[in-house]
């Protein structure tokens, strides 16, 4: 295991009695610092961590199995429930995968609104991470600040989709409906004031000596280990690997947006904190660009057999009524084949693998969620360090148990 030169890893005494002095400690599943129902079986020598074994599955709901019994369009609301802190990214990734199978062309306006909302969703995810991570370290105030802004974002989600958390706003073929009239102005209002709020968090934490001491040099992850263990997203970029699917393999029109991908070569918990903080600023810029260049036009693809018709049309046109009835009762057939759609969500690389056998129900839906892989790196980051660091490390990788257990 590579170690950070700035923070020496404590050498374990290699005595014969070492085994007797070791203690196994159960952290979780009901532990406030494990962000859900994660159970960590920690083997300790005094206060020094010998091994960490994550035990997961407490939140397993068999979503992948459920998907196989639903029509393609009925899977969209299931995806919200997987990573409930970044709901629109889930929607987007699934919709993109199915649209790839169908070969659907998505109108530009729908793509831009998708980018805008996905970035707001990323901000939502990062705000929760920042609040809970700081709270784990003992800085309670930040939590109240970040949840104040998160509330604003949730109100925007509610205005556009009717739901605060389980939005299901992106549908196969576009959006569920046009956003309300003043909605873009509300986003503008929020995004204008948001950079100051990031400064506020930064003022509370960046110079805070306790926060710095708890984070700097803790949980070092080398770029080689990070790549080998499948770590993605901010933890990977904080270890110096410059990869962001939004920029490198663009989807949903991301190639039209200019933004920087922050990286750090330090690879510790502090670097992850800094990378995410800059990412929030970059997301703000993307939202601003989306607002400035928002194209007009429809928000649904021109595919009457796949996309539900507008309510008004359905009441006046026979064709639309028939299509509506057929889609709701029979679904729509998707050409046989298999696709994998990857994207960059708040926590890292998300991926949907959809296999179709040509019927109206997916034959197999598999989700790759970043936290599942990142969890494997916890032991590498914590071995030989104090148990108090474990809390900082688990907070810094930003896990959501819903997406790990699925």
């Amino acid at each position: 295991m590579a170690s950070n030169p700035g923070a020496p890893v404590i050498d374990l005494p290699a005595s014969e009695t070492a085994g007797e002095r070791r203690m196994v400690l159960n952290m979780g599943p009901q532990h406030p610092a494990t962000h859900g129902v994660l159970r960590l079986v920690v083997e300790l020598d005094g206060e020094v961590i010998v091994s960490v074994r994550p035990e997961i599955g407490y939140l397993h709901t068999g979503i992948e199995k459920t998907c196989e019994a639903k029509f393609y369009q009925q899977v969209v609301p299931l995806t919200d429930r997987i990573n409930y802190l970044d709901p629109l990214s889930n929607n987007l990734c699934y919709c993109l995968a199915v649209e790839k199978l169908l070969g659907l062309e998505i109108p530009e306006r729908a793509q831009w609104i998708r980018v805008l909302l996905t970035e707001l969703s990323r901000l939502n995810s990062h705000l929760i991470w920042l609040g809970t991570h700081a709270m784990d370290i003992g800085a309670l105030t930040v939590f109240l600040y970040t949840f104040r802004e998160r509330e604003e974002i949730l109100r925007l989600f509610e205005a556009v989709s009717g739901q605060r958390m389980m939005t299901s706003y992106f549908r196969i073929g576009g959006l569920s409906m046009e956003p309300p009239l003043d909605w873009l102005d509300r986003v503008q209002h929020f995004i204008t004031s948001f950079p100051e709020k990031i400064d506020e968090y930064s003022n509370l934490l960046t110079g805070n000596p306790i926060f710095m001491n708890r984070l700097k040099g803790v949980g070092y992850l080398s770029p080689e280990d990070a790549v080998a263990l499948g770590v993605t997203g901010p933890p990977l970029r904080a270890s110096g690997v410059d990869i962001d699917l939004r920029r490198d393999m663009p989807y949903s029109g991301y190639e039209k947006f200019q933004f920087k991908v922050p990286t750090s070569t330090v690879g510790d918990t502090w670097a992850r904190y800094e990378v995410r903080l800059i990412e929030m600023r970059e997301s703000t810029k993307i939202v601003q660009q989306a607002l400035d260049g928002m194209p007009g036009g429809p928000v649904k693809a021109n595919a009457p057999k796949i996309v539900l018709p507008d309510r008004e049309k359905m009441k006046t046109e026979m064709e639309a009524l028939i299509h509506h009835f057929k889609i709701v009762t029979e679904g729509f057939n998707v050409p046989a084949g298999e696709v994998y759609q990857g994207m960059e969500c708040g926590h890292g690389q998300m991926g949907y693998y959809v296999v179709s056998d040509g019927t109206a129900k997916p034959y197999r839906v598999h989700m790759r969620y970043p936290s599942f892989a990142t969890l494997q790196a916890v032991e590498t980051m914590c071995k030989g360090r104090l148990i108090a660091d474990l809390v900082a490390v688990v907070g810094s990788i930003d896990i959501v148990l819903g997406e790990i257990d699925r």
């Binding site: 599955g57 393999m249 990857g342 598999h366 790759r368 494997q376």
Partner: protein, 167 residues
């Protein structure tokens, strides 16, 4: 308005259509017998290899620049034979490209080599497939159930396992 990228099916056709593709070249140079099939569909490249050679194929692809193991899972094609399809998604950080590696395994004892020696990050993914599909991975360091309780009977993602009701 719809669009579909051209489909190229069959190993020979793929090799003719994209002779310079690094992954196709690497696998052909590695072992032409074990590299059995290829397909380019929906803009994605699927390469099928013999299940006994999966680990060596991963080593060859890793050397060709496909450095990041992104995802793996299985598909149950019950009642077809071979029954299980294993799909590995491998990303290249330098080429900015993803390929799908495919291997088929069959009943009664579906077993394949673990690729954890090549990518330790495959550990949880193989445990998940073991848990939900009952496919065993030879050489896996810690092959236990991951989602379901340890004493669970059956493998939920198999197609002969009911979605609801009693088993």
């Amino acid at each position: 308005m719809t669009r579909q990228p051209a489909t190229v099916s069959g190993k020979q056709a793929v090799m003719e259509a994209m002779p310079d593709h690094p992954a196709v070249k690497a696998l052909e140079a590695w072992n032409p017998q074990a590299f059995t099939d290829a397909r380019y569909d929906f803009g994605e490249l699927t390469l099928t290899v013999a299940p006994t050679e999966i680990c060596a194929a991963c080593v060859a692809l890793k050397a060709a620049g496909y450095n990041f193991f992104e995802d793996m899972t299985a598909v149950d094609w019950f009642p077809a034979s071979p029954r299980f399809q294993l799909s590995y998604h491998i990303l290249s950080h330098t080429l900015k490209e993803r390929i799908r590696l495919r291997a088929m395994v069959d009943e009664p004892d579906p077993t394949i080599d673990s690729i954890t020696p090549v990518w330790p990050g495959a550990n949880y993914y193989e445990r998940e497939v073991f848990d939900l599909f009952g496919i065993r991975f030879a050489g896996h360091p810690d092959l236990r159930r991951i989602m379901m309780p340890d004493d669970w009977k059956g493998h939920p993602l198999r197609k002969d396992y009911p979605v609801e009701g009693y088993r």
